[in-house]
């Protein structure tokens, strides 16, 4: 239990450090992968809804505190995204890599949708704007993150297949 907590805490710290140091240098057309979302996604699949909800909440809250955004905006979006991914806990349902990829994309879209809706409500804006933002910003970011995220997913799948054989 304690070992797991340290493992996930270490992963989040590593993701945070890489997100602020390495990731800006590998951005393509200003689109950056979101490593924190990837780790949250992995945690949700492995640990389930409750850890994903709370970790997502605190992760979002930390982002809110460290960036000039509406307080609670990231907390809410990450909470919902964590909850959504946590529903597909690997202990309860068996999912293949392609489904995981679709889930990850949906998680990104859900997260950004909630984020943008909150922003629209607080500062004003249109649903059309949200749609455009999802297509032009969220989707490329999600795809780039997915590209990185698929490496451990496929690796895990391959190693599990080898063990089964």
């Amino acid at each position: 239990m304690l070992k797991n907590i340290f493992k996930w805490a270490g992963l989040f710290v590593l993701a945070f450090v890489l997100q602020t140091t390495l990731v800006p240098s590998i951005s393509i057309f200003q689109f950056r992968p979101d490593l924190l979302m990837l780790v949250l996604f992995a945690l949700a699949l492995k640990a389930g809804v409750i850890p994903a909800v709370y970790i997502g909440f605190f992760l979002g809250l930390a982002q809110d505190l460290y960036s000039p955004s509406i307080l609670g905006q990231n907390a809410l979006s990450k909470t919902i995204a964590g909850f959504f991914a946590g529903l597909f806990n690997e202990k309860l349902v068996r999912i293949d890599p392609i489904f995981k990829a679709v889930l990850l994309l949906l998680m990104f879209l859900l997260n950004d949708s909630v984020y943008l809706i909150v922003q629209m409500v607080k500062t004003g804006g249109s649903m059309q704007g949200i749609g455009m933002e999802l297509i032009t910003a969220t989707l490329p970011r999600a795809l780039y993150s997915l590209l990185l995220g698929m490496i451990p997913i496929l690796w895990e799948n391959y190693s599990q297949a080898t063990v089964r054989r």
């Binding site: 509406i70 609670g72 909470t79």
Partner: protein, 277 residues
């Protein structure tokens, strides 16, 4: 009340979600002032301690690198300190030599020992002044505490010096108090003595200086002190042991006395003598 608790435990996933969503919405719905206040409160109570812990953890890593850096700095400073101590000691010695040069009326050439006889007896040294500096054969060398030896070979930039501790060297000396004159001798380069008649007034502690006889060393330069007096095999003489004042193991800065041997002037005269065939 019990049923609420039971409901929460049964639906803890949904309850967790609702709880966090409500919290988030409560924060979102607040005014900018409220948000700023809450953000400050959260930073101080939750995130600041975490940040401090994280900073301390990274600080521990820094401690190692800082320790390495400080160790390097200590090594560098120790080297510097040694160099400065060496300079201070040299300064002290040079001050002594300046005092010495003021005492003498002779012209002195300051020299530095650049090599020494590698044998255990260490009978000679090489100094960094030679013919071009005005050094000539037989010129005496003095240190802060007394005579050291004489130049026995002169080259252009360096000179070889025979120390008075060389067993083949003989130096004419005398007691400063009783004016007893004798020859300083040594058999092994460590123990020095002179012979004098039994009735001569020589006491332990007497200062021994050069006598000026022999023509190389001027009169009155410090040589050493009488350490003990023993009987000689010949009952008419006694053996007086002398402790030299110069420490020959630590010779560094010295002076060559620009002084030609007294017999130099007679030499031409002797050479010109024609003996009847």
């Amino acid at each position: 009340m019990h049923w609420i608790f039971e409901f929460v435990v049964k639906n803890r996933s949904i309850c967790s979600l609702v709880f966090t969503i409500v919290l988030s919405l409560w924060m979102i719905s607040g005014s900018p002032e409220f948000q700023a206040k809450t953000a400050r409160l959260l930073t101080v109570t939750i995130f600041y301690p975490l940040q401090v812990t994280f900073n301390n953890a990274t600080h521990i890593k820094n401690i190692f690198s800082e320790n390495r850096r400080l160790n390097q700095e200590v090594a560098t400073l120790n080297t510097e300190l040694s160099r400065l101590r060496e300079m201070a000691a040299e300064n002290e010695r040079l001050r002594g030599l300046i005092g010495l040069s003021n005492e003498f009326t002779y012209s002195l050439i300051p020299v530095r020992v650049i090599a020494r006889d590698p044998s255990a007896e260490s009978k000679g040294i090489v100094v960094n002044a030679g013919r071009r500096d005005g050094v000539q054969m037989w010129m005496p060398l003095v240190g802060e505490k007394g005579i050291v030896g004489k130049v026995i070979q002169v080259m252009n930039g360096v000179s070889m010096v025979q120390l008075i501790k060389d067993p083949s060297n003989r130096t004419s000396i005398m007691s400063r108090r009783s004016r007893t004159v004798s020859i300083l001798e040594t058999e092994n380069g460590n123990n020095f003595f002179f012979r004098c008649r039994s009735h001569e007034d020589v006491q332990v502690g007497d200062t021994i200086v050069t006598s000026g006889l022999g023509g190389i060393y001027p009169k009155g330069l410090d040589v050493g002190q009488v350490k003990r007096i023993t009987d000689s095999q010949n009952p008419l003489f006694k053996r007086v042991w002398v402790e030299l004042s110069v420490d020959f193991d630590h010779l560094e800065e010295l002076f060559v006395m620009l002084l030609s041997p007294q017999w130099q002037s007679f030499r031409a005269e002797f050479d010109s003598l024609e003996f009847p065939k």
